[in-house]
């Protein structure tokens, strides 16, 4: 399809796409705009150009330190993602390269572990965490996030691995590589785009997980979701402050997502590539 399309056609598509993109992006854009307004300005109806005040940011920072929850978010999302990859890469490896009749069922079952509504198991989990001394510990939460997202990670890796020709792994085996060597030196580096996009998706999911991260932490392990929870609906005006806090909370992941957008698109194919 390398035919040069007419400029008019391109223009039409461009306009349509920009309109849709702006509509979809608008809530986020407006949040960012609002974060630069003063509180009274924020509730004064539609206004696209803010007065450009940073007072909300200043206030947010003085009210609650941003840095520690930010670090926790980074540690938790990256840590849980790495942990998930560590145990799901071998699993996806065996499902993709040594499939059995049950493989599909196991995949479905894995997904089904996500069916229990979190609210229903809060107390059981809280009791478990208490008994193992994991409340407000990064390790505990990291393991939890790992387990929550593991099925998705396995799914994505599995579909991605299926696109890697088995012959290359066999070649490694012929070359004297052990299983470990095969996975570390050959499979993993080859699957880098897929693993990268899986990582990104998982980091996003872990970053945005707002139930357990709030309920199982107090101070040491509390990530940005808890940071946000301290700015939503207090008594008094809070739109601008909430917007500033929200902007702060989503900015890192948004920036990361923007920079890695190509990876995401490339990797998230779910085995659709021939």
């Amino acid at each position: 399809m390398a035919r040069a399309t007419s400029v008019r056609r391109t223009a039409a598509f461009t306009i349509a796409a920009w309109i849709i993109a702006l509509v979809i992006f608008f809530p986020i854009l407006y949040t960012i705009i609002t974060s630069f307004k003063s509180e009274t300005e924020a509730i004064q109806g539609f206004k696209l150009i803010p007065s450009g005040t940073f007072e909300s940011y200043v206030e947010v920072q003085t009210q609650k330190d941003y840095f520690k929850p930010f670090m926790n978010s980074v540690i938790l999302s990256v840590g849980s993602t790495l942990l998930a990859l560590l145990i799901s890469v071998p699993a996806a490896w065996s499902m993709a390269f040594s499939p059995t009749k049950k493989t599909k069922d196991i995949l479905m079952w894995m997904l089904s572990t996500k069916m229990m509504p979190a609210v229903a198991v809060l107390v059981p989990i809280y009791l478990l965490f208490r008994d193992f001394g994991l409340l407000d510990s990064r390790i505990g939460l990291m393991v939890m996030l790992t387990l929550i997202n593991l099925p998705i990670v396995v799914w994505m890796l599995y579909t991605y691995f299926r696109e890697i020709p088995g012959e290359i792994l066999e070649a490694a085996r012929m070359d004297g590589a052990s299983l470990w060597g095969e996975i570390v030196y050959v499979l993993t580096p080859m699957a880098v785009p897929g693993i990268a996009s899986t990582m990104l998706l998982n980091i996003i999911l872990a970053w945005n997980e707002a139930f357990w991260t709030i309920r199982l932490t107090t101070t040491n392990a509390a990530p940005l979701t808890a940071f946000i929870a301290s700015f939503s609906s207090p008594q008094g005006l809070f739109w601008a402050k909430l917007s500033a806090a929200s902007t702060l909370a989503i900015a890192p992941i948004l920036i990361m997502g923007w920079f890695s957008q190509k990876q995401l698109v490339r990797g998230l194919t779910f085995g659709a590539v021939k």
């Binding site: 070649a171 490694a172 012929m174 004297g176 590589a177 880098v192």
Partner: protein, 333 residues
Amino acid sequence: MGNIQLKNVNKSFGNVAVIPRIDLTINNGEFVVFVGPSGCGKSTLLRLIAGLEDTTSGTIEIDGRDVTGAAPAKRRLAMVFQSYALYPHMSVYKNIAFPLKMAKMAPAAIDKKVQDAARVLNLTSYLDRRPGQLSGGQRQRVAIGRAIVREPSAFLFDEPLSNLDAALRGNMRLEISELHHQLKTTMIYVTHDQVEAMTMADKIVVLNAGNIEQVGSPMELYHKPDNLFVAGFIGSPKMNLVSGEIAKPYGAATIGLRPEHLTVSKTEGKLSGTAGVTEHLGSDTFIHVRTDGAGMITVRAPGDTDIRFGDKVYITPDPSRIHRFDEKGLAIR
């Protein structure tokens, strides 16, 4: 050393016996080619030898040692895959060095070996490139380089040239033959290309539905095919097989006539017919003649033949080169 023995080897997928039962001995230093129609089990056999598949029953010995249950890495074999199976994320250098690294060789020794191999294969100036930046022929050489650095006891090649275009294929064919002359290591080579099989092999193994039809040197197979299958499979264009009345006088159920052993004339000859499609290659002309009584027969004529579509022609076989087969399709000698 590279003495490979298959004893009573059987391989089934589920309850389909892809290889019913095979005995085969490959001597050290031989260049053995497996040929056969698509799906006959060539790759499977190679993979059994490599240890990438389990045998269902039977044993495989390498240099007298039973390796039936051994892991691929333990068999000291090197394999070049049909798709090359290069590591796309590694440079040419690293690709070639990989098996040595796995063998925990010292970096200095690795470097020497890789450089030597690269020199032999003319790859020295590409060592830093990734496979994706190489042409088909260069990739092929990297795959071979990766195989030779290990000094294996035997090489296994699975249709290594099938992805290349005609010109490149010709060059690579020569290079591999050259290599075999230099290294004198056992090589097992799978192909469906006539020219490759005929020109490279010391010994050709013709497979059909998992069975060995014949084993022999290329010229043996060309001149003395054991049966109809081998006769039809070896040689290009295909041998013409004629049965019925015309075969009778020769005391055979079927006779086989190679296109290159037939002469064609506009005036006289044993068999009459009408020239059908004539294929001019410049060097030769293949004339497909619709004979009276013996069906379609392909004849190889010189490049400058004046026979045209529709001409009345006569064909004469070279009597000393008629192949005779009985009702079971076995050669009558």
